[in-house]
């Protein structure tokens, strides 16, 4: 319940503050979103599997986002588009987490 409230509060802050993101940085924000969705789903999965640890969760969230952004930055320096690679990896993980949550909730 508090988690959902957090999501709403975050969205509301963004709507109220309305931060402007420059063209170059918007790619990083997109990656941050993907990493955040992945971490959130991972957290929910761990919660349902009763292995949730808040420290691990927050650390995983921060490090995932940091590594993703760092990789894209390195890719930009090397003129190689690593964004796709990161989106694919996170996409696969999101589906795996959703599948695990589904199995937990519906048992199938």
């Amino acid at each position: 319940m508090l988690a959902l409230l957090g999501l709403l509060v975050g969205a509301l802050i963004a709507i109220v503050v309305h931060p402007t993101v420059s063209q170059e940085l918007s790619r990083y924000v997109t990656l941050g979103v993907v990493a955040a969705i992945d971490s959130s789903l991972g957290g929910m999965r761990a919660y349902l599997e009763h292995t949730f640890n808040d420290r691990v969760f927050v650390l995983a969230f921060v490090s995932n986002a940091a590594v993703a952004i760092a990789l894209v930055w390195v890719g930009d320096q090397l003129n190689a588009d690593l964004t796709t690679a990161i989106v694919v990896v996170f996409g696969v993980r999101i589906f795996q987490n959703v599948a695990a949550i589904r199995r937990r909730v519906f048992g199938g």
Partner: protein, 236 residues
């Protein structure tokens, strides 16, 4: 339990914040690009119609000049001689529409898909192909040549701008129809260029055909023929 919920709530708050930010910035960048694109398209269309208007105005004025010269030539003997000389010069310069028998050459890009690893450029007609063809037609005694209705005169450039061929500073689109009055079919077919094009056609499937035509009209050159900077050099 309390800390668990707080951690989840905090991370989800960041997620929501990032989500909305990313979505709004993506929308904003799309919004920023859309008007610029339509603006550019409008600009191109606008300039094209301006150029067309000006071309038409030049043609009208040239017609008026021609009519005025004709009226003048009827006045006395001296101007009649001048008019005859002017007509002769204009015929040589290419500022008069001419008609007669000649040949028509059609060129177009290949319909075939270039195989992998091979140069796709060989399957297209380039500015150099048009140049070769025009030169070959003049070599076969052509007296007046036009590409897609654009008259070739001594100052005509045939070049490419990106993927488009530009003749007389106006883009031409395939199929390229080259009409040459006075060109001899046998001479042309016997030329090195014609045999090369036949070879390339069989290799790459270029659109290439040659017809002799009974009577065909080549339009007048509508651009400037007067020299503004170049003058006769002083003696050899």
């Amino acid at each position: 339990m309390r800390r668990t919920s707080l951690a989840l709530a905090g991370v989800l708050a960041i997620t929501g914040f990032l989500l909305v930010t990313a979505a709004s910035s993506a929308r904003a960048s799309k919004r920023a690009e859309a008007p610029r694109k339509t603006e550019l398209i409008n600009l191109v269309v606008d300039r094209q119609s301006q150029v067309n208007d000006l071309d038409q105005a030049v043609k009208d004025l040239q017609q008026q000049v021609g009519a005025a010269q004709q009226r003048e030539s009827r006045r006395n003997k001296q101007s009649a001689a001048d008019a005859a000389r002017l007509a002769r010069l204009s015929l040589q310069a290419g500022t008069t529409a001419v008609s007669g028998r000649g040949i028509e050459v059609r060129l177009s890009d290949s319909q075939r898909q270039p195989p992998n690893g091979q140069d796709a450029g060989a399957y297209r007609i380039h500015d150099s192909d048009l140049q070769l063809m025009i030169n070959a037609l003049f070599a076969a005694h052509a007296e007046a040549v036009a590409v897609n209705g654009s008259r070739i005169v001594v100052t005509t450039p045939v070049r490419s701008a990106g993927d488009t061929i530009v003749v007389n500073f106006r883009p031409v689109t395939p199929p390229y129809v080259i009409v040459a009055i006075g060109a001899d079919t046998n001479d042309f077919e016997a030329s090195d260029i014609a045999s090369r094009f036949r070879h390339w056609t069989s290799l790459f499937g270029l659109g290439y055909s040659v017809h002799s035509v009974g009577t065909v009209t080549v339009p007048a050159f509508a651009g400037r023929v007067a020299m503004s900077d170049a003058g006769p050099a002083a003696g050899p």
